[in-house]
Subunit: 334 residues, 2 copies
Amino acid sequence: MELITLAHGSGGRITQEIIQNLFFRYLGNPLLNRADDAAVFSTSSRDIAFTTDSFVVQPLFFPGGDIGKLSVCGTVNDLAVCGAQPQYISCGFIIEEGFVQAELIRIVKSMAYWAKKAGVKIVTGDTKVVEKGAADGLFINTSGLGVRRRNLSLGIDKIRPGDKIILSGAIGEHGIAVLSKRKGLAFESEIKSDCAPLNKMLINVLDNTTGVKFMRDATRGGVATVLNEMVLTGDFGILLREKEIPVSEGVRAACELLGLDPLYIANEGKALLVVEPSSEEQVLKLLRQSEYGRKARAVGEVTKDLANKVCLTTAYGARRIIEMLSAEPMPRIC
Amino acid sequence: MELITLAHGSGGRITQEIIQNLFFRYLGNPLLNRADDAAVFSTSSRDIAFTTDSFVVQPLFFPGGDIGKLSVCGTVNDLAVCGAQPQYISCGFIIEEGFVQAELIRIVKSMAYWAKKAGVKIVTGDTKVVEKGAADGLFINTSGLGVRRRNLSLGIDKIRPGDKIILSGAIGEHGIAVLSKRKGLAFESEIKSDCAPLNKMLINVLDNTTGVKFMRDATRGGVATVLNEMVLTGDFGILLREKEIPVSEGVRAACELLGLDPLYIANEGKALLVVEPSSEEQVLKLLRQSEYGRKARAVGEVTKDLANKVCLTTAYGARRIIEMLSAEPMPRIC
């Protein structure tokens, strides 16, 4: 079993070997293979979106994904929700000495697969190795660059009372999948992470309707956190209808068992969209054309009252405030 | 003494607090403060350079710098040596639970100072916290975006026999500074890291001469590694003159004591330039105008023979081959 050594991060001959035999082999493209300190290219537009995310998920492999898939999809989705078509990705690996090379290969192959699926190229990278005990296996940073239509205007400041809140699918799957794997929990049906690249679905919506005001992917802190961030900066509230929020039977059962609220559980393949009322049907139709949006639902609306609050009408007709997450129910979910 | 907790990485209320009170406070600018999943902006050109680097240096504070300064300068320099003017930087923090908040503030302030000095804006970021023991204090990833003149053409493929090798200053200072601090070594005169943003100096050279063929900053693996990477892909060799290579007395003494060769020691503020013979004097003059290039020297030349080899003429007139670094003399130098 070959292991990663400190020499793999030295910048010398052994680093060159891993770059050639692993990164170029699986992720290679003309820009990456130039091995310059930076990738140099011409974009199709001067309107750019730029994002970064570090991934520290534990375990590295979980039902429905792995840290490699997650790192590509996470960054792709951050660009897409800002209305940009993701194009170029960087990857920075921090590897613990003694990490199993075969696992690294599996992870890099997964990155290659999902980058291709999302239509992005990994064009620049960096590898560091730290001594045994100085990191927990592997951390990956991906940053990304996308191009954006010039006339596009998305933002919390565009949101108005009456706008509809659309959720692209069922919630809580990523967090529960990681948590079950970590704790060795077995549920009746295996819950898989929803980790997915949403760019094609979301850009298709933007290209075919004008009514989208704002989009966000509901990752750390879940749907509750994203909605709370929205109302914090705006002069409006949000009212959700519990019965409209898609939650799979498996996630619901797991949440009951673990005492968790699916609204706070991380997703890695779900977007929240705020749209004009007149665009609701069209946006739902467009989302449902994608394999990642089949269960898209309108789950609530923007209200003039309830300012700065997220409120939920429960199945029994009661209302409760959905606060911002304050404690951490599950660290290292992404 | 306030410490970083897992809640700071939860994505919830406590994460918002640290984002507002630390990152926005010291690094803030209109793009960053929008707190979108990606920063959206228009660049002055469609010709872009994109790079990434993760920093795992230990200790986090060392003579002449800290991980924050290093993370900004490292990414700025990677863009500059590709001929791009750095403009936008991302930062991803991976923090170990229990990290002292005051140290994080010091590091973020250092990033702010050096970003300003280099003329770049930090426009997007990410914070993850891992449990105690799962990381070694703090790791930082910075990715960067720069714009490049359209007609600029730099590359190893431009290098021809007869071209001159110019070094922007004395070598080995960063590696020795970090190592002395780590091992608690005291030398007669304190050796400070040369960590510095080289973009203004290098872009000034490019803007005022046409003879530059290739540039690289000599970081991990030092000058020897950069030159070996150059000759690997080209049909030429390199001959260095030992007596021309600037090494400070302090670094020389430390290297002798530690049995290290300054050619392999990491620099964080030194560039190697390959230039046409007719441009040598002009490039040296331009470099020496900068505070970071006062000791710039022509240290060798590109040769037709010695193909794929880096060779050194010693002070005594002997020749020796400078191999690529194979073992790691000092991990976590950057």
